[in-house]
Assembly symmetry: C2
Homo-oligomer: 462 residues x 2
């Protein structure tokens, strides 16, 4: 338990109004988007890197844990303060400090909502591509800490590919700049990318320099319905290798489709087994022809029908349905375990095919959808925690899934990170030597293990 005088010192550092300690307030910051929760002992809303530095120095002195968070939309428990202590909520630091069209970059604080940034840069004819499904409410700081992806990653890359530089408060309180305002830079170790996806365990990000792209002249959206799973999943690799350069290449299976069917702006025939949702962008003159080529190619792979959004609002309704999938799955069962594994492109058909066996074997519906163009499939094991045999079957089903993914030379997480939920499985992917090295890196940053302890590493990282 944090003693009162420690709370007082924190209040002195950040201002009394920026510290919450009442039970019901603390519980508001106990969660992320998993169903895990643990209340922190205090909730702190810092206003600057300097204030964060003071809090972290106090944490080292008094030995309390600090868990940074943005909007709490994470999928692996990364923002759940399992070691108690302080939750550091970065939503007050939400200024867009600069959008520089001449340098094609933006400088932002971590609490900026990703969607707000996207809108703001588009108003200046620029484009910030990463588009996690939670873009309307997640924060850019969380995106950086988790290395968030999204639907356009297949063309544009993930958050990592847009971060040029960072200001970070180290766990020991020093404030450092990493990276640069330049498109390239190789001076010293790449701390910028080391912080990317480090899940709040190596420091607190307080400023982010983001590379921007030119706003695409036009974009078209298509949906290709396939009569069987195999044809749909095999089409993914064929589309990519053909150089059709999709901007997005998303997949959903029949059960997923059923959950969002009535949101789609077109009728999907009942015999359809899987849907690919595709986009192409580029110069206005080129896009129509590219979309037509993409549609033709999908038909050659057996897709019937292939539907093309005729207007921008119609295209947006395709994508709104796509973004609605995650909550819509609860129509099937009241609980889910959602994994975001990724496999090599050629292994997608086998992955999806063999999930049917796991589903039958474990007696649980398994729904899948996601960023097929990256081999990054969101796999949802659905269950009802009031039905004991379902509750008991979930863990074994997830273990089956991870074993399958590793057999296919895949990774346990394409974009959600390890957090709490995947920490027990880290050894399935990383060797003991690699984990030991990562723990030495953690210690080089955070000798007292105050930053988000309990995450990534099985047993807590120290």
């Amino acid at each position: 338990m944090m003693q009162d005088f420690v709370i007082k010192e924190i209040e002195a550092a950040v201002g009394r109004d920026n510290v919450l300690t009442r039970w019901e307030e603390r519980w508001c910051y106990a969660y992320d988007a998993t169903d895990l929760a643990q209340a922190p002992e205090a909730v702190v809303f810092p206003g600057s890197a300097q204030e964060i530095s003071k809090v972290l120095r106090l944490a080292n002195r008094h030995g309390f844990a600090v868990t940074p968070r943005g909007a709490g939309t994470g999928r692996t428990g990364g923002a759940v303060p399992v070691a108690g202590g302080v939750v550091l909520v970065l939503t007050r630091m939400n200024r867009i400090l600069e959008i520089n069209a001449a340098d094609m970059l933006a400088v932002v604080e971590p609490g900026v909502i990703t969607g707000h940034l996207k809108t703001a840069v588009e108003e200046q004819g620029l484009y910030y591509p990463p588009d996690p499904s939670s873009a309307d409410y997640c924060t850019i700081g969380g995106n950086v800490a988790e290395c968030a992806g999204g639907a356009v990653a297949v063309q544009y890359g993930v958050t990592r590919d847009y971060v040029l530089g960072l200001t970070v408060v180290l766990p020991t309180g020093e404030i450092i700049d990493a990276g640069a305002r330049t498109m390239k830079g190789v001076v010293g170790y790449d701390l910028t990318r080391l912080f990317l996806g480090s899940e709040g365990t190596l420091g607190v990000i307080t400023r982010i320099i983001l590379r921007l792209a030119p706003k695409p002249g036009a974009r078209q959206t298509l949906a290709a319905a396939f009569p069987n799973l195999k044809a749909a999943t095999e089409a993914v690799g064929l589309i990519l290798r053909a150089g059709l350069a999709p901007t997005a290449l998303e997949f959903m299976d029949r059960a997923t489709l059923n959950c969002v069917r009535q949101m789609l702006p077109f009728k999907v025939p009942p015999q359809v087994a899987a849907l690919l949702l595709l986009a192409v962008d580029g110069h206005r003159r080129e896009v129509a022809e590219r979309a037509a080529a993409m549609a033709r190619f999908c038909r050659e792979q057996g897709a019937r029908p292939v539907m093309r959004a005729k207007t921008a609002p119609e295209a947006e309704s395709f994508w709104r349905a796509r973004r609605a999938i995650s909550p819509a799955l609860f129509k099937v069962k009241p609980q889910k375990v959602s994994e975001d594994v990724a496999v090599p492109l050629s292994a997608i058909p086998e992955l999806v095919g063999r999930l049917e066996q796991i589903s039958r074997h474990r007696g649980l519906p398994i729904l899948c959808y996601g960023h097929a163009g990256d081999g990054n499939i969101h796999i949802n094991v659905m269950y009802d925690h009031n039905i004991p045999q379902e509750q008991e079957a979930v863990g074994p089903a997830v273990k089956d899934l991870f074993a399958l993914v590793r057999q296919l030379k895949g990774t346990l997480s394409g974009e959600h990170g390890v957090g709490l939920t995947k920490a027990p499985y880290l050894g399935l992917e990383l060797s003991q030597e690699a984990i030991a090295l990562q723990k030495r890196i953690k210690k080089a940053f955070d000798p007292n293990n105050i930053m988000n302890p309990g995450k990534i590493f099985p047993g807590g990282g120290s």
Copy 2:
């Protein structure tokens, strides 16, 4: 000095034929592409990660330095064994282990010549984009260790953007895998990108998994001649912001142009002050129109003439001239200091403009060319080391340059790394706190500082 019994132990680890110790043999591996040199005490050609592991364990036990190298084409002294000990030459490990069209990736050993890999993947309809000017003789392992760039980085990114995973022998001898065979992956800290650009100081890379792109359907090359430097450098940012999406956007000033003038497949009028060399690629149908739009845009910015390569061999002769610049500059003076600074895009005109002042002030020709589309300009301070006042002016000119670059919020190195030559200037870019953190990372990997000591950090890194 390494004692004879230590050499014997190394010979037992890698085979006697794979260790060179004669004076003239050792001097063959004393150099890189700078004019720095120091002979190692032994030259070792390992054949496997296991052999490297044995050598590194011996280095820890007996306290000798190990400097890994590929072809020795580095520009900052990174492969020069300033601490003596062993040079580990990775050219025997030169197998392309896999080119997997279905997964769109390749797996290679570090000693593969980059150009050989490019050719091999193109034969399968794929494309490995990074194209350092030394691609015909540099090795992919060196490209990874330095995070090499090249002319197409403006569209395709640098080496970092293509490395999915690595096998690395840690300085302490453990062999670990980092990253994955998947397009995305966020399990644990991003060791892959930490090794990228770490200049051989954190371990020895023995296997590289590379993402491949589809081979572009077509590419066109243009050269736009500008009547003054300002118009040329300002056109760079305008081209990028206009969404013309150049595949390459290279710059050369008048003095550079004079060095390669007769290699160019077209006549450049004498009044031309600067040349932009541009490429566009994409679908066959689209490329001609894009190239025409690019040519139109350059003319609107004042370029006269804008020349378009009519055939692939003609385009290749444009690029051959571009790649020949670095050695051709010796026509001006027998020595040069070549820096590869990068600045924000809007600062290119000021950087290039103010170099003329430094040149006048220091009495030395300064020639610049390079990857303008990334703000990454290669700046060459030319001198004759037999002329004392020129020799003495070089250091101050480089200091002026670095001060200017930092004032423009640029970086000291866009793609060549720090090595030996920039180590004294590290503090101009990184704070003492950031350097201290990087040294703690180095220590977490290499507690006895055996891997390439003396590089990156002023004073040697421990």
